[in-house]
């Protein structure tokens, strides 16, 4: 029996979509029994949200005022305290999971498998290395827990319709006071979330300014799309960091990805290779983005984008 403890990601109010994707990955392990841990200040409604996912067998609700905001140094000892008896401990390969899971692995005295993209067996997985330029098949040692993060862009979300039991657990662990959350600055937006949007429009350095990025927002709104950006556009200050797509930003898999004024550095392409259809609009016909685009259009974005927006809106 494969017993998997999966750490849920949430913002205190709702469960992050990364959790349902991790459930799908975990369900591909042979004979998987999946328990999801919800560590929150008051996790009742979060726990019932998770309990409604198919394939989840049990939800473990760990309430503690210290869990009001996710701090790896505070969460890790609690996860270790409940990890006994599990063969696997999984989390998402989002910044939440990347921060937390290696701390859990080290406390358990094991190495971690980062970014699972496919499951070949209970201890055998595939993962990308070198910015996705190579895929390695790895095998975790037997006889110790397998700690891993799941590359969420590789998995669909588990469906609703489950009815797992919820167990409230109190955890006796020493929680450090050496790390304190101060604030979160987040560009709230009504647009679809970049990581889960079916359509994404991204802009690059060629936009030239933060003001010109309005062109991208308008096109995205006409399409009902989320908005992303290349590293160059973020570095130039046109848009905030949370919009960066690529190796060190977000790895996404929308049905439609439209790259505008993005030349297509390998690190950017890493973030979009699971997209359904990639459209590239760029004035340089030699730009590497055209080598992987399904539909390419060479030309001046300042002319093309408003035209495209008008055509879609009409």
């Amino acid at each position: 029996m494969t017993r998997i403890l999966l750490v849920a990601e949430h913002d205190g109010t709702t469960i992050n979509p990364s959790t349902a994707k991790c459930v799908t990955c975990a369900s591909e392990l042979p004979d998987a029994e999946i328990h999801v841990a919800v560590l929150a200040e008051d996790g009742a409604s979060l726990a019932s949200e998770v309990a409604g996912l198919t394939s989840v067998d049990k939800v473990i609700q760990v309430d503690n005022p210290a869990n009001s905001y996710p701090v790896a140094a505070i969460l890790a000892p609690q996860i270790v305290a409940i990890a006994d008896g599990y063969s696997h401990v999984f989390g998402p390969s989002t910044t939440f999971g990347k921060d937390l899971m290696p701390r859990v692995a080290a406390l358990l005295g094991v190495n971690q498998i980062s970014d699972i993209m496919s499951v070949l067996g209970s201890h055998c997985f595939r993962r990308p290395i070198y910015a996705g330029n190579a895929i390695v098949t790895v095998e975790a040692p037997a006889g110790q827990p397998v700690v891993a993060t799941v590359r969420t862009a590789s998995y669909a979300s588990a469906a609703d319709g489950g009815s797992a039991s919820i167990e409230a657990v109190s955890v006796d662990a020493d929680l450090p006071g050496h790390t304190r959350f101060i604030e979160l600055r987040s560009g709230k937006s009504d647009r679809p979330d970049l990581q889960t949007a079916a359509k994404v429009v991204s802009g690059g350095r060629a936009l030239g300014s933060a003001e010109n990025f309005d062109l991208i927002y308008k096109l995205a709104d006409a399409l009902g799309a989320g908005v992303g950006a290349s590293r160059a556009a973020v570095d130039a200050g046109y848009v905030p960091n949370e919009m960066q797509v690529g190796q060190t930003g977000k790895i996404i898999a929308p049905k439609l990805y439209i790259a505008i004024g993005i030349s297509g550095a390998i690190q950017h392409l890493t973030g979009i290779k699971d997209a359904g259809t990639i459209v590239a609009i760029n004035k340089d016909g030699e730009a590497p983005i055209f080598e992987i685009a399904d539909i390419g259009l060479v030309g001046d974005l300042f002319k093309i984008v408003p035209e495209l927006e008008a055509a879609i809106s009409s």
Partner: protein
């Protein structure tokens, strides 16, 4: 603080397009340009700026690897680090072992701050800093885009999926760097000459008595599935038609 410890990993250069060996046994590294992991270079730059502001007395760079890694340590010394430590081993260490080695160096040097890259661009593991912090029982501030020291505290801005998070950690702590923390300086020729005189200590890994960890074995290497070049359209009308064909509009 007295000391800052910075980890430098020798990796295939950022600009090299890596190739998987035809027999699937690994990634070709023979005759390939090697450099300091770019995130580690940012970590070193940050340490040097802290020292130049007068907030630290000494910057120590440490690497784990074979004697070739001396080259990257010399580059680190040329950038401005005061001394270097190479923990010598011919085998590539896994992240947990690397963290255990770094902890041993921490216990010898007692740095007030450890700065590491958030991930190495070869294995993309993103683990060592968090593991070191866990084993050390100290705070971690990963994916830092701003670091402000204030006495025994560090205020760190972290780049996370939903935006910018600020946390405060007690020192000593482990901070891992993201891309926008700073832009590393270029090394000048006279500094390369000067770096040759700076101390570089070599410690055989076996001397550190690191607890052995069970490795995750790498069984086979393959190329990713390649996307094919698609069609080119001439104008917006062509683009709209192509998107409608695919049912995307």
């Amino acid at each position: 603080m007295e000391k800052i410890l910075v980890g430098l990993k020798r990796v295939v250069d950022y600009n090299v397009r890596v190739r998987v060996r035809s027999d699937g046994s690994g990634v070709e590294t023979d005759g390939v340009k090697m450099s300091i992991n770019p995130f580690d270079e940012i970590a070193l730059e940050e340490a040097l700026r802290i020292k130049e502001r007068g907030d630290a007395a000494e910057v120590i760079v440490v690497s784990i690897g074979n004697s070739d890694a001396r080259q990257q340590l010399r580059t680190g010394l040329a950038m401005g680090a005061d001394r270097a430590i190479l923990v010598e081993t011919d085998e590539e260490t896994d992240p947990l072992s690397s963290a255990r080695v770094l902890l041993e160096i921490v216990n010898r040097e007692h740095p007030g701050l450890v700065l590491l890259g958030k991930q190495a661009i070869d294995n993309d593991n993103n683990q060592t800093g968090q593991m070191l912090a866990a084993l050390w029982g100290r705070p971690q501030a990963t994916f830092a885009s701003e670091l402000v020291l204030d006495g025994n505290l560090a205020k760190v801005t972290r780049e996370i999926d939903v935006g910018l998070e600020s946390i405060e950690v007690d020192l000593p702590a482990v901070v891992t760097t993201d891309l926008r923390l700073n832009e590393p300086r270029y090394v000048k020729l006279p500094d390369i000459m000067k770096a040759k005189k700076k101390p570089l200590e070599q410690i055989p890994l076996a001397e550190l008595n690191i607890e052995a960890s069970a490795r995750i074995s790498e069984i086979a290497f393959a190329l990713p599935e390649q996307r094919q070049k698609g069609i080119m359209v001439d104008d917006v009308a062509g683009l709209v038609a192509a998107l409608q064909d695919k049912g995307l509009l």
